[in-house]
């Protein structure tokens, strides 16, 4: 069936099914905050020896602690794009989430979902046919990090990576179906295309660099930083190149709640705002060796 990025479908899905997202009062009464995080997504959210780990887990934990609540995790399996993830995990629930024994059970949703881009243009995007706001069922708020792109390279294979031009001649690994994949496969009239090696995850691309399959890896800055930090080997270094003609050079990352539960969003936002301002946020990122850049909201204030 269809493989296009499905930007317009969510507004029209009309089948029934009650969803289990909760108001601020219900959350406080229950004593638990259900935090949505992506599954298998280091360094943001993943499991190590059965224990949840990662930046977003730590931020979620700090929010729950501050609110006097216990954190429950809702692991998100990513769908084709963010619209789908918001529908499946924040406001509506997934159509396969059904309980045969208890057909009236509510669908499992996160109270608040982490790692949601904070982008006005995205948040207020309209369906080109109906004029309806595509994501009107959620509120995106609370930017806590600014994300970007980065290349790591093997210093025994490449002297330096000053510009992307070297990848006309040398191999580079990327995550399949990611923006680095599109960028390297199409930019500069496709001159780097033949040197692009595709991997299921950035970590597998990094392993590919260690085993000599590729000489460099391109991924999100946080992913590259965390992998280099964990590897702790001066042989692998951050490149100093820019990314000419890439569409999004930087973007901010925040959270989302269902639009009818703004009060919960305000409470969470207050906690996160304090964490950004008093340096606790940066400290969480530095645990994983990640370059911390303030979201635009805070850069403008300073």
């Amino acid at each position: 069936m269809n493989k296009f990025t499905t930007l317009v479908i969510c507004a029209s899905l009309a089948f029934a099914g009650q969803a289990h997202s909760r108001s601020f009062d219900d959350v406080v009464d229950s004593g638990e905050l259900i935090v949505g995080v992506y599954r298998n997504f280091p360094p943001f959210s993943y499991q190590q020896d059965g224990q949840p780990k990662g930046v977003d887990i730590d931020v979620g934990q700090a929010i729950a602690d501050e609110m006097g609540l216990k954190m429950q995790l809702h692991w998100v399996i990513p769908d084709e794009n963010l619209d789908d993830d918001l529908r499946n995990n924040v406001w509506k629930g997934h159509y396969l989430d059904k309980d045969d024994e208890n057909p009236l059970a509510l669908k499992k949703l996160a109270d608040v979902m982490m790692r949601i881009p904070y982008d006005r243009e995205y948040a207020y995007r309209q369906d080109s046919q109906t004029g309806e706001m595509v994501n009107e069922q959620v509120v995106m708020f609370g930017p806590y990090q600014r994300e970007s792109w980065r290349v790591a390279f093997d210093t025994e294979k490449l002297e330096a990576v000053k510009t992307m031009a070297v990848f006309q001649y040398h191999s580079i690994g990327v995550e399949l179906d990611s923006l680095p994949d599109f960028y390297l496969s199409s930019a500069f009239a496709g001159r780097m295309r033949k040197n692009v090696h595709h991997y299921s995850t950035p970590l597998m691309a990094f392993e590919g660099m260690k085993s000599g399959e590729v000489k460099a890896v391109m991924a999100m800055r946080s992913e590259i930083d965390a992998m280099l930090f964990a590897e702790n080997n001066p042989r692998y270094q951050v490149a100093e190149n820019g990314f000419p003609s890439i569409g999004k050079q930087k973007w901010d990352v925040g959270m989302a709640v269902k639009s009818t539960y703004r009060q919960l969003g305000y409470a969470v936002e207050e906690v996160v705002d304090k964490m950004v301002r008093d340096g606790r946020m940066e400290a969480i990122f530095s645990r994983y060796g990640i370059t911390y850049e303030l979201p635009a909201l805070y850069q403008d204030v300073q």
Partner: protein, 588 residues
Amino acid sequence: MKHTTLGKGFAVSLLAAAISFSTAVTAGVTDQDILNDQATTDDVISNGMGLRGQRYSPLTKVNGDTVKDLRPVWAFSFGGEKQRGQESQPVVKDGVMYVTASYSRVFAIDVKTGDELWQYDARLPDAIMPCCDVINRGVALYDDLVIFGTLDAKLVALNKDTGKVVWKKKVEDYQAGYSLTAAPIVVKGKVITGVSGGEFGVVGKVEAYDAKTGQLAWTRPTVEGHMGYVWKDGKKVENGISGGEAGKTWPGDMWKTGGAATWLGGTYDPDVDLLFFGTGNPAPWNSHLRPGDNLFSSSRLGIDPDDGKIVWHFQSTPHDGWDYDGVNELISFDYTAEGKTIKAAGTADRNGFFYVLNRENGDFIRGFPFVDKITWAKGLDDKGRPIYADAFRPGNPAEATDGKQGSSVVAAPSFLGGKNWMPMSYSKDTGLFYVPSNEWEMDIWNEPVSYKKGAAYLGAGFTIRSINEDYIGVLRAIDPKTGKVVWDYKNYAPLWGGTMVTAGNLVFMGNPEGYLMAFDAKTGEEKYKFNTGSGIVGTPITWDMDGEQYVSVVSGWGGAVPLWGGEVAKRVKDFNQGGMVWTFKLPK
């Protein structure tokens, strides 16, 4: 569990013995039975009502004069809270109907009474995310087995009398994006299946399993560069790389994740002893990333049923940029031209062209549009290759660097196709194909403000529009020798169910509005109409029993159409879901 195996087997055989005493002879389905399926009117034991997939029945009791009296004799509900698209074709053998339902369920029903004999619910993993709805298109029968594919990409063989699992095989990893929704077919004692999966990174393949044991016999990837294998005496033996070698029609390492899923299953013709499978579009969807023909995406393949070798290929949409899957069924038929019998095959593609191929070697005989509007190609050359209209190829999202929505391209047909999965039929009496088609187009544009898994991404936005105010669906009777549309029937909603044709000069088809309809096969005159209570997206069958002709169809609105927004969704949003098998006959 091991210690109970003996006891259980004993109990089962007693039960089977009891059943065989109480009813007539219930012999197992043989290869010969399957090859004769189209000619034997007392059963329907294969998808397509015969392996060629013609969906033609020699029955004549229900005909243009009598069909007005057709009455339901029973209706059977799939029940549960799981009412989604029901795209199944039932099969019938020895007075029992075997039919699948959404969410990988199988039901056995007594066709005399409509009573349930057993139900099997595949236990799906908790975290499963199938790409494309939760439909299933039907079972295959072999020996005493009922064989079908599940959403978590397993083949399951059930005992026909008890519904208990006899064998179960994982065809692919559902976590990697694979699933199974097509009806398998059985050829020469082997179950033949493709794989579904729209996610990026999937590679299509066709596989054969021993029908009785579930042992893998051969596997054939449908993307150039991947090795095929056969199993000889339990040993996996290399059997040649699809297309000879990697990188001939793909750049870089993109062949490793090239798509071309075989998600609609296949047909078989014993005359030329070949399987015919169609393949899905190439990955990634952005054609500008993968210059080249990208074999064997959007193609029809002729495959040797004994070892899986690709004998011939015909690519309907080389270097696809519109999501024109080439999976649609290839139906074998013979016709006479200049005193010679031509072993031909017909197929109506997503891309709006109908192709007549030589089924012995895949050569293009002729092709013509079967929908009114095609923008992406100006026509076909003498080899059947499209002559592209370059202005109608969707743009490269990577060029949208200014953060603005790229220019929009209007392409017709839409990616849901001039014809989608819903099977057409062919009548040797009229020499016509009965093609359920749709008239719709799509806008596609680059969407630079897009995110995936918390990361900036480059997506494409699209929307589907109807071309005409008063209809989208068109059932067309098409002469494959001339390309002439002999008659048509227009339908307000898009058609999503298959057709069947009978020697009684009737074409049967259901529509999303819920009607089972019958048309005069020669003139298109509407002869019969019955509201089944929910939209029909399945395919009817017919058989006879005790001297009476029966017609069955599954009703239950769903599938891909309601998933798409905009104007098309508005046309169908008030259709109610369902999940029923309806069975009809003439009053005595």
